[in-house]
Amino acid sequence: MEALLEFTRGPLFRLTFIIMILGLIRIVALDIWGAVAAYRRAGDKKLDWGAAIGHTLQWLFPARRVFTKRPVYSVFSILFHVGLILVPIFLLAHVQLWESSLGLSWWALPGTWADYLTLATIGLALALFLGRLVDRGARFLSRKQDFIWPLLLMVPFVTGYLCANTGLNPATYQVLMLAHILSAELIFILIPFTKIAHCVLMPLSQFIIALAWKFPARVDDPICTTLNKKGAPV
């Protein structure tokens, strides 16, 4: 058991983390590659950068839109994201792991904050899952992964909380810790290949849609040629 834990904490962690990083780099690179090619082809290269930056910031820090439509859902969703980002990165135990392995260290969340934030994230994940199940519009749109993700994301949070806060006997602790690490590693691998890719793609969206409306010049002729419609009436 000890060896298995060591393996998941060491080589397996490094492997899955690298897969995630490379996967994310790949999709960002593909996005930028596509955007540059589109920009080169665009007939009009004047982009409203200011508006795109403004919209991006507005959605990265969505204070303005929270209370206009669906306020409860908005607040829940924002807090959920805050917990999801802050806890794994700034939990003291995690920071210490980075420090002991790579020598990197950064600010850590105070213990009680981390606890509350973890519990809040678990509760919010459950609420968002139930919300998706109950809301007729959202349920109708949802794919399998949309229901699975909030539940999957809860696993490392629940197991992590239990490991850190309850006087468990060593055997149970080890099982839970294994579940904690493995679930996190599964998440790492899945991130670049599922909708969680939005964690890196979302800041690019406003630039992409601004550019997407900048069509290439003269597409009529080549499309007609390809589709054999030269000289065909309107």
Partner: protein, 484 residues
């Protein structure tokens, strides 16, 4: 989720299809708009061929790649869609509509999707799916409000735009739009309303006489002047339906002494290509620009029309030389500039009744023309009230995206598409509803009639015409006129 769902009675009225069962059977399309007869055989294959050709020669692919990766299906767009808010039909949620096309893209144009599809033998494009796309993509009014509300930044309007383009390539597009565009590009009259030149000249002479009676001044429409500063092209239907808007515009030019002209060779700014086909949009833009070059005009000035302004403003640079292309302006920009430079004087408080302003989606959504008309309105209207929401977050008139030209779906437009707008208009209690857009005007007139709202729909220049202080402006008046 809050919705403002229509009653069962309204639903029946809105969705009563005007199409004959034989037509539905022979065209394999149960949609509410009429489509010219087309080759029904092999639809999925031809749809995919058209899709592939478009992807090859345009810029859509990189955006679709981004959208399929980022879509989280949060359903936030549902709260902003006036159509879904009225029907409550989940198939009208913008994200659902987009997914119809994105799923085709994922299955047939990505490696992972086609591998999975082949492995499980699922997800390939079927006739039924094409039917669903054909129905769904024309329920949308292309108002682009959903794009504002998408946290992930998916542009559902772009997807609708693309979907309609692909459909049109296999022959599925509203007949009303196709026939008009055909007349504009290939017909004898060369404009969407099929107005012959003698009729145009007659109309304008008649308006000049009318204005002489009203103002005592000679206000004319200069035709085919070479080297004018502004080549003026309105939505051509204005020559038939919006005489007062045109009179207001001519009067503004008279008062400000502006150099402008209307070409009798080509006088139509309507561009239905924006609604159904990038290829047609390009042809129309090039035709318009060719006319500006032929007459050696400095600027292209579009009349009171949202989609015509947007298509010219954003696609003249695309197809006619980028930065170097002739500038495109909307008439409201010209009039405001004249007022702000003191060349145009408007008499304050000319209009004492309550006035409200409808933002046409195509010029307001991207923040282009929002404050300009309001500054003008405040200069001569005593009681101006705003609708909420307004500006770039405005609510569509319900006839956007070309749907207003489809007469057979009027009941759909006035009960579903325009329901939220009707509530907004009612809440203002305005006597005049200013809508500086040919499409919005037509739709809103039908809307206030069908929804029984006591309100008159007018153009901005209709009212400006009444408010111009020719004496005070006097740049364009001759010495004799000033004395008179």
């Amino acid at each position: 989720m809050r919705t403002n769902i229509i009653t069962a009675e309204e639903r029946e009225k809105a969705f009563a299809s005007a199409k004959k069962p034989q037509v539905i059977e022979s065209q394999r399309l149960d949609v509410r708009y009429h489509v010219e007869d087309y080759e029904v055989k092999d639809r999925p294959r031809r749809f995919l061929e058209a899709f592939a050709a478009i992807l090859k020669h345009t810029n859509y692919r990189f955006a679709l790649e981004h959208f399929i990766r980022i879509s989280t299906k949060c359903s936030r767009c549902a709260v902003q869609c006036p159509v879904y808010q009225a029907t409550g039909d989940r198939r009208d949620i913008p994200c659902y509509r987009s997914e119809l096309l994105l799923s085709v893209y994922r299955r047939h144009f990505t490696v992972a999707g086609s591998l999975r599809g082949r492995l499980f033998g699922t997800g390939h494009l079927t006739d039924e799916k094409i039917e669903e796309i054909a129905d769904s993509f024309w329920n949308c009014t292309a108002c682009r409000r959903c794009t504002l509300e998408c946290p992930s930044g998916i542009d559902h309007a772009l997807i609708t735009h693309l979907g309609r383009f692909i459909l049109s390539e296999i022959g599925i597009a509203p007949r009303a739009l196709v026939v008009s565009t055909r007349e504009q590009l290939e017909g004898k009259t060369g404009n969407t309303s099929a107005i012959p030149v003698p009729a145009l000249v007659d109309t304008l002479e008649f308006l000049t006489d009318d204005m002489k009676e009203d103002t005592g001044l000679d206000i004319d429409f200069p035709l085919d002047v070479e080297g004018a500063e502004y080549l003026f092209t309105p939505a051509v239907s204005d020559f038939l339906m919006e005489a007062e808007t045109l009179m207001g515009i001519a009067a503004v030019f008279k008062a400000t002494g502006g150099s402008w002209t209307i070409s009798t060779n080509y006088f139509d700014a309507i561009n239905y290509g924006l609604f159904y086909s990038d290829r047609m949009m390009e042809r129309i833009i090039r035709k318009l620009y060719g006319e500006a070059e032929r007459l050696n005009a400095t600027n292209i000035l579009i009349g009171e029309c949202g989609h015509a302004s947007r298509s010219a403003k954003y696609y003249v640079p695309v197809h006619c030389g980028g930065d170097k292309a002739k500038p495109v302006l909307n008439i409201m920009e010209y009039t405001l500039k004249m007022m702000e430079t003191g060349k145009l004087k408007l008499k304050p408080d000319t209009i004492t009744e309550r006035v409200t302003y409808h933002d046409p989606c195509n010029i307001a959504r991207q923040g282009w023309i929002i404050e300009q008309p309001r500054k003008l309105i405040r200069a001569f209207c005593k009681d101006f009230v705003e609708m909420t929401p307004r500006g770039s977050e405005n609510i569509c008139c319900g006839g956007g995206g070309g749907t207003v030209s489809i007469d057979e779906i009027r009941s759909y437009r006035t009960t579903v598409g325009g329901k939220a707008k009707a509530d907004q208009i009612r809440a203002t209690g305005a006597k005049y509803l200013i809508a500086p857009c040919a499409n919005c005007k037509k739709q809103l007139r039908e809307l206030v009639e069908d929804q029984e709202i006591d309100c008159e729909v007018v153009g901005l220049h209709d009212l400006i015409y009444k408010a111009i202080d020719f004496e005070g402006s006097h740049a364009g008046l001759s010495a004799a006129e000033k004395k008179g």
